[in-house]
């Protein structure tokens, strides 16, 4: 596969390490009263869609960026690639 890195352009997916669903960005608050329940869901349940999937890849043999890649799990077509840090900020992970 080819991942079109937002800074570096097309790179072979073999340079990356895969983690999983980009929902892993949304780590629950460990100090919240219902933390255990939300961490169980965060840690163990996945949508696992057959179709569009937003997922995390780490450019281990490259610039060490974590990326959020939107990829179709049926066709492997990739429709968007963003720096995970930008996504995390946009989705409320800023301090």
């Amino acid at each position: 596969m080819i991942i079109n890195h937002p800074l570096l352009g097309p790179r072979d997916a073999a340079e990356f390490v895969y983690k999983g669903d980009a929902a892993l960005i949304h780590r629950p608050d460990g100090m919240a009263p219902d933390a255990l329940e939300s961490f169980i869901e965060y840690g163990y349940l996945r949508d696992n869609p057959a179709g569009e999937h937003r997922e995390l890849w780490f450019h281990e043999q490259g610039d060490r960026s974590w990326l959020v890649v939107s990829r179709n799990t049926l066709t492997h077509e990739i429709t968007s690639v963003e720096l995970a840090r930008d996504v995390a900020r946009r989705e409320g992970r800023s301090k």
Partner: protein, 183 residues
């Protein structure tokens, strides 16, 4: 001045050089390296600092200047003469003013420079960088025989491979094998 004698990454007292098919493969040991990574919110300052140090604009993504190359977002590697700036990281750290984190990298890496006309023929047996399109100033990080390496294109006939120092022997073997195979 200390009296310890350095070893090259290949484990000798003198850098190694090999020649085959019109390409030279030369171990480079006289360059000091330090990484400069911008502190949060100080990205522009850090880039300016790199520019100040190197006398040329901080390299953009996947680019290299004469004495710096891009490593990752808001992070650069500075290259300097080992002879005069063995303590490069310390020197830089003294100048950053909280704009960047500086880390000593000199001996984290080994470096082999390949020079010759048919480098593209060699590198197409080694990694996925499209050397044919390189004109000079490119800096890509990729894998060569399982080793994560930087490829810095100094000019079309001159490429530096900067790889993990502990695997210098394996990297050298891979480069020389590819030269003999392709040329």
């Amino acid at each position: 001045m200390h009296d310890l004698i350095a070893l090259t990454p290949l484990g000798a007292h003198k850098p190694r050089s090999d020649h085959h098919g019109g390409v030279s493969l030369i171990e480079i040991t006289d360059v000091a390296l330090a990484s400069v990574a911008a502190r949060l919110g100080r990205e522009a300052d850090a880039a300016a600092l790199v520019a100040k140090i190197t006398g040329i604009e901080a390299p953009a993504a996947a680019r290299a200047s004469d004495c710096a190359f891009w490593m990752g977002p808001d992070q650069w590697m500075i290259e300097a003469s080992f002879e005069t700036q063995e303590d490069l990281a310390q020197q830089l750290a003294a100048q950053v003013n909280g704009a960047a984190s500086v880390t000593e990298q000199t001996d984290a890496w080994c470096r082999f420079d390949l020079k010759g006309d048919r480098l593209a023929d060699v590198f197409e047996r080694l990694c996925n960088a499209d050397l044919k399109r390189f004109t000079g100033g490119e800096a890509v990080r990729t894998a060569i025989e399982h080793l994560g390496c930087f490829l810095i294109c100094r000019s079309p006939g001159h490429v530096s491979v900067i790889g993990p120092r502990s695997s210098a022997g394996s990297l050298h073997h891979a480069l020389l094998t590819a030269m003999k195979s392709a040329l």
